[in-house]
Amino acid sequence: MNARDFFAVAAQFKNSENEAERRTSIGRSYYALFNVVIGALTAKGVIFRQTPDDHHRLVSYLTKTRNRTANSVGSALLSLRTDRNRADYEMALVTSVRTTEFVFQKAADALAQFDSISPAEMAGIVTQIQAIP
């Protein structure tokens, strides 16, 4: 499936009166961005280990490059991961409509940033990631 389709689910529930649906929206927003980015880098030859640590490995890779846009996307992924973990594990916290809307829009904006990376820039990013010890 196309991970971008997660955004449609996130959009459907981001303003829901049901908090469980809003928490679902946060998770889908994060996973849409995560899966698109990791899928694109994998397709370019970056190796991931297919473990839960790939979430932080992806952030580490992006934020160690010299590309400003890749860094911004990496930082967004890291913060959105904390939002997703809170949504899925912290039942005592309240997840508001505006927080859910923010997470959705932030993920969408970060995806647009990632999509704006030119093929030449992407080749440089991949080269830099592959040079990380």
């Binding site: 640590d53 979430h55 860094n71 990496g74 930082s75 913060s79 904390t82 927080t99 904006d109």
Partner: protein, 118 residues
């Protein structure tokens, strides 16, 4: 001067901080920052956040661990805000851009910034 006082000093030197702003750094976050030589960057991140503090109600700085990952301790700045979603989206994008200039590449993945809206 304790680390927390150093952090708070940095907070107050950032300027344009409304009297209602409250910054809380947990002992765990402070200890982790000290043990991993992240204290300077923690203060830088705090200063970057408080550069435009008019919309900030409070900031909690905690050490958070990804419950699904072996690795993944992160110092997380949780900002309670009174601003609009579009305003915070713009601020957040600028903040991430500032990270690139102000935080070393090896330390950027140690800091997360998230927002809660009233």
């Amino acid at each position: 001067m304790s680390t927390e006082n150093l952090v708070l000093k940095a907070t107050h030197s950032a300027g344009n901080i409304p009297s209602s702003s409250v910054v809380n750094v947990s002992a765990e976050a402070e200890r982790y920052a000290r043990e991993h030589s992240l204290l300077d960057s923690l203060i830088v991140v705090k200063s970057l956040i408080l550069r435009d503090a008019a919309f900030i109600k409070s900031v909690d700085v905690d050490l958070v661990r990804d419950p699904e990952a072996e690795a993944g301790f992160v110092i997380c700045f949780s900002i309670q805000t009174i601003a609009s979603v579009p305003d915070i989206l713009e601020f957040d994008k600028g903040l991430r851009n500032s990270f690139f200039d102000a935080i070393s590449a090896d330390e950027r993945a140690s800091f997360a910034v998230r927002f809660d809206f009233d």
